[in-house]
């Protein structure tokens, strides 16, 4: 049985919500059961955003991600808040452009991705979250990167399809990095 629970967290405006939906759509394309759930309400004020994605090969019970197997932390507050909730032997990917490993957990795989820098290199800082998602996919292989690339059409409304190339590049750059981590073990890129 496969069941992956992923928490994606960061500032509002970092594309957290759509990155989560992208993962869910990619899971769908990969034939998995998927569920996506955002945090909602006044904790949105002050500019934080997060969502949980569940991927499973059987029916999904609760879609709430309270003890994630995987955390994607796009900024420091998110890292600080959620790093402790990740299950032992889980994975934490963090945006090392904006956050550092303040926690020092040894029982999880800790991967820093210089996502803002990479995204800026790709000409669009807004794709940073997809860089990290790409890294996760490269690292875990849970879904193919091509499924995620294809799913970009599902997530982006037609009038934003011009953004597909940048996002595709972000996923692929991230994935390459992720694969390299898998090969090289825990790393900060």
């Amino acid at each position: 049985m496969m069941l992956v629970e992923i928490l994606i967290a960061g500032f509002g405006g970092q594309g957290i919500i759509s990155t989560g939906q992208l993962l869910a759509y990619a899971g769908m394309r990969a034939g998995l059961h998927v569920a996506w759930i955002p945090s909602y309400g006044p904790e949105m004020r002050g500019g934080t955003a997060n969502c949980g994605v569940t991927l499973s090969d059987t029916e999904i019970g609760s879609p709430l991600v309270t003890e994630p197997g995987v955390l994607i932390a796009m900024n420091q507050p998110s890292f600080d808040k959620y790093a402790g909730t990740v299950v032992p032997r889980g994975v934490i990917l963090y945006n090392s452009s904006l956050a550092k490993d303040s926690h020092g957990r040894r029982d999880v795989l800790m991967v820093g991705v210089d996502a803002n820098r990479i995204a800026e290199e790709l000409g669009n800082v807004q794709v940073a979250a997809n860089v990290v998602l790409g890294a996760y996919l490269g690292l875990s292989g849970v879904i193919s990167v091509s499924a995620a690339v294809e799913a970009l059409e599902d997530v982006l409304p037609p009038h934003r399809h011009r953004l597909i190339p940048a996002n595709r590049a972000a996923l692929e750059r991230g994935a390459a990095f992720g694969v390299s981590c898998r090969e090289g073990g825990s790393a900060v890129g």
Partner: protein, 350 residues
């Protein structure tokens, strides 16, 4: 059509539209607001009406008017908003008007919070409003089921001329799951010769009213309704049974919790405990037939809810002292985990 990811809150709206509902009056509230956003956009596109009311009190009374005028009509809110609708719901039931009301429940009492909860079970099934009436109450547990039950809700409302409530919770409203939108036919409302549409060519004018100033008249109304309710109880009980055939322990849970409980059943079975699940789909009429049947064989019942124990009483009434009925609840906006339920199961069967 391809599968799309859809939010639970949007699915309530989509289901309503597919049921032929073209008319919604609502007031925003977390965690159901996306329903209003969805319908505020979609309904005008298809020639329908979306009115943002100035309050839930007003919304439910607009529903009263639209239902009286013969429309399939929806309103939607979350716990505090439902409390404000109690007078209106009692009037709608008293005037025998069909309509559908969605409650995406959140933590209470008072302002509480916006997290998922099931603390409004009693309010829904025993009648939070005054007087003897009943709501038909449906409880979907997934986004696709939301769509299906919304269609059923409108049909039942029209069939019995009674308000129907569909209850979810913050999880169900906020989550996205894949749905396949079959291009099935849009339903239409049956003829409503009683509707106040202006007399037109009718030989008689119509009146919509819940006032029966002479007590004997009101009593007659109540007794007639009691007969309708009895019929609903006889014909409309719905539940999902999961691995109950040989279950020694029957879990009972609805909505989001039932999903968690189902996972717990599998895990318990893996540990050699013969567990099963009855998931009421109609909270009223409560599926007491299923429970009674299960009680013939199961040794124990465990009710799991996101509250302090409300459906528990209906289970106990159905079991009627024949078996012990246990309870595990997490009130105030917390969702029980598979692990917690398993622990409880082990404690009981241990």
């Amino acid at each position: 059509m391809p599968k799309v990811l859809m939010k639970g809150n949007e699915a309530f709206g989509e289901g309503a539209i597919r049921a032929g509902c073209r008319c919604t009056f609502a007031y925003p509230i977390t965690p159901q607001s996306e329903l209003t956003h969805f319908l505020a956009r979609r309904l005008p596109e298809i020639g329908g009406v979306f009115v943002q009311a100035e309050s839930e009190v007003s919304a439910i009374n607009m529903v009263y008017g639209a239902a009286a005028a013969g429309a399939r009509v929806l309103t939607s809110t979350s716990s505090p908003g439902i409390s404000l609708m109690q007078e209106g719901l009692s009037y709608i039931a008293g005037a025998r008007l069909p309509c559908v009301v969605v409650n995406v429940m959140r933590g209470g009492p008072g302002l509480g919070n916006i997290a998922p909860a099931q603390g409004d079970y009693w309010q829904a099934v025993k009648g939070g409003g005054h007087g003897d009436y009943r709501l038909i109450v449906l409880a979907p547990a997934s986004v696709p089921e939301i769509i299906a039950l919304m269609e059923l809700a409108f049909d039942l409302a029209d069939k019995y001329r009674n308000p129907v409530m569909v209850v979810g919770d913050g999880v169900l409203g906020q989550m996205m799951e894949p749905v396949e939108l079959e291009s099935g036919e849009i339903r239409t409302a049956p003829e409503k010769p009683w509707a106040t549409t202006g007399q037109g060519d009718r030989p008689q004018r119509n009146v919509i009213n819940s006032l029966h100033i002479v007590p004997e008249d009101n009593e007659r109304f109540n007794l007639d309704q009691a007969a309708v309710f009895a019929e609903i109880r006889r014909r409309e009980q719905r539940s999902e049974e999961y691995r109950t055939e040989d279950a020694e322990l029957v879990l009972m849970a609805f909505g989001t919790v039932a999903r968690v409980a189902k996972a717990a059943v599998d895990r318990a079975r893996a540990r050699g405990i013969r567990a099963g699940l009855i998931r009421p789909i109609t909270l009223w009429p409560f599926p007491d037939e299923s429970v009674r049947r299960a009680a013939a064989q199961a040794q124990q019942f465990l009710v799991v809810e996101m509250n302090l124990g409300q459906m528990l009483e209906d289970v106990r009434l159905s079991v009627n002292g024949k078996r012990p009925v246990h309870f595990y609840g997490r009130p105030g906006g917390t969702v029980p985990t598979v692990r917690e339920i398993l622990d409880e199961v082990s404690r009981i069967m241990g």
